[in-house]
């Protein structure tokens, strides 16, 4: 990976240096840009996004590292079309595990409503999970007649994978009522969780 350090440079030098480095970079090489100014960092990210180049950012104190993994975009011929459409929300590196059909402890009825609200709100988030996994009584969200089907349908359309535990459907004898996503096994469920950057356990 090529690294450029633009710490301490006056705006817009960080952007100028980033663009210069990108132009000289072989197609399959990644670029790391080290920036210590938030405004410059935002401008660089905005420029990359505008030109269809994906990037990852990490922050350490006041220093940002912007990593461009795949810059295989012809900077001279970027189509303006891309700026007219809204990009689909980014999926973040996390999965949500529904181990039960409620959110929080106390009242089960309230817990069910809250879990529904969570799914409804989730679809509005900028960073969607890669997968939502339903096990044990969590399967109630993916059965016919569940009030959460509409929200789940939208999440699925936005590219979120919905995975339900087959053993659990069998145990509750609900396989016939299964309504959305796909049925899978413990191997895939475990693999999804171990590979994810973060698992949110409901």
């Amino acid at each position: 990976m090529k690294t450029i350090d633009v710490k301490g440079l006056k705006c817009p030098l960080p952007l100028i240096e980033t663009k210069k480095a990108l132009k000289q970079l072989p197609n399959n090489e990644a670029l790391k840009v080290i920036i210590d100014n938030e405004i410059s960092k935002n401008n660089v990210i905005r420029f990359l996004t505008d030109n269809g180049i994906k990037s990852e950012i990490s922050k350490n104190g006041n220093v940002f590292e912007v990593i461009v993994n795949n810059h295989n975009v012809d900077l001279e011929n970027v189509e303006a079309e891309k700026y007219c459409t809204i990009d689909p929300p980014e999926k973040d590196d996390y999965v949500i595990l529904f181990g039960k059909d409620r959110l929080g402890e106390g009242s089960n009825d309230l817990g069910f409503v809250l879990a529904g609200a969570l799914l409804n709100t989730l679809k509005e988030m900028d960073n969607l999970p890669q997968k939502i996994i339903f096990i044990n009584s969590g399967i109630n969200f993916v059965l016919k007649g569940s009030p959460t089907l509409l929200a789940l349908n939208e999440l699925e359309k936005a590219g979120v994978e919905l995975i339900t535990c087959g053993t659990c459907l069998d145990y509750f004898d609900k396989t016939e009522e299964f309504a959305i996503g796909r049925i899978s096994n413990m191997y895939e469920i475990l693999e999804s969780m171990t590979k994810a950057g973060k698992v949110i356990n409901i």
Binding site: K20, I39, S40
Partner: protein, 344 residues
């Protein structure tokens, strides 16, 4: 010793203006002041406020000040003054009086301040107005500008809220001053581009205003910190119309595109883009660099004039003859559509 004022400007001097969308948050909810004599208020984001004194006189008031945009103190004084005076000209008014607004570090030699004030003074004299005083505060980074009063006949006010579908848009100065200043700050690009930027920023919009008055123009605005698209958007919204801009026709300082291509895009351009993009539709053919030029924050930019179609060619000729050499037809006003500004 010769000081380069640009070296005094903070790191990331990505233009000193608050972003329009942030500013809106602060203004929202403030009590609206109504007065029958207040002819133009902040509602339409116009260039200056206009208050009627009697049937023949209305007073125009405006202020603007900012940190150095160039290296030389005398240039800076002239540019800051031309920029502050411009709001009066955008409304079609005459300059009466001006007050100096000065923030200056105690540690710098007073000769620098003297040069800044001399620049401001010269421009106010050129405008036909007088400097009647001012106010000075010690501050680490110098800032200079004016509070200006002008006058206009209440029937002849030129606002940003009177554009009519069919009007043709004239722009009297080239864009790219934001890019040129940023380039100078980091020692990029050619000195000619910077010098051209300095000359255009120093130029008063006075003669352009006279030409507007002569042709009975009703709607115009000056192009400053929010860039061509930001000010065009405000004009479209205030007038309840939409605007078409032909990016190919928009004049730019020499070699501006080369600087943008290098990535020399000041932060203010990104802020302006964020502010306007929801209300703009860019055709596929508009290149990224053109788009960034259209949102480049201008200092002491030109006038964007809504001209009746029959007057546009004569006005253009007169503007060019009066020293606005790069005056161009950059678009037109259309009926209100689903977006405010269409860029091709």
């Amino acid at each position: 010793m010769k000081y380069d004022l640009l070296n005094l400007v903070e790191q990331g001097g990505c233009s000193a203006k608050l972003s329009a969308s942030e500013l809106q948050k602060a203004l929202d909810g403030l009590p609206k002041i109504k007065n029958k004599n207040l002819l133009v208020d902040i509602e339409t984001h116009d260039d200056a406020g206009v208050f009627k004194i009697n049937d023949d006189y209305a007073i125009i008031q405006t202020t603007d000040f900012f940190p150095p945009v160039c290296s030389d103190a005398y240039d800076f004084g002239q540019i800051a003054a031309a920029n502050a005076l411009s709001d009066v000209y955008a409304m079609g008014g005459q300059v009466l009086t001006a007050l100096n607004i000065v923030l200056f570090p105690a540690k710098l030699p007073m000769e620098i301040l003297k040069e800044i004030l001399r620049g401001g003074h010269d421009k106010v004299i050129e405008s036909g107005g007088v400097i009647v005083g001012g106010h000075t505060i010690a501050d680490d980074i110098p800032k200079y500008g004016l509070a200006v009063s002008g006058w206009i006949h209440p029937d002849n006010i030129i606002t940003n809220s009177d554009a009519k579908p069919g009007d043709i848009l004239l722009l009297t100065k080239p864009l790219g001053t934001g890019v040129a200043i940023a380039a100078k700050k980091v020692e990029l690009g050619e000195i000619e581009t910077y010098n051209e930027a300095i000359e255009t920023m120093k130029q008063l919009n006075m003669h352009a205003s006279d030409i507007m008055i002569k042709h009975k123009v009703k709607c115009a605005t000056d192009i400053t910190g929010f860039g061509l698209l930001g000010h065009a958007l405000k004009l479209a919204q205030a007038s309840e119309v939409s605007i078409k801009i032909d990016s190919q026709q928009v004049p730019a300082l020499n070699k501006t595109f080369e600087l943008i291509e290098m990535g020399c895009i000041p932060g203010a351009a990104f802020r302006n883009l964020e502010f306007v993009e929801d209300e703009c539709l860019f055709e596929n053919s508009v290149e990224y660099n053109s788009k960034m030029l259209l949102v480049d924050a201008q200092t002491s930019g030109g006038l964007l004039i809504c001209s009746p179609p029959e007057a546009v060619e004569t006005m253009k000729k007169e503007l060019i003859a009066k020293g606005y050499e790069q005056t161009a037809i950059v678009g037109k006003v259309i009926d209100k559509d689903d977006k405010s500004v269409f860029i091709s």
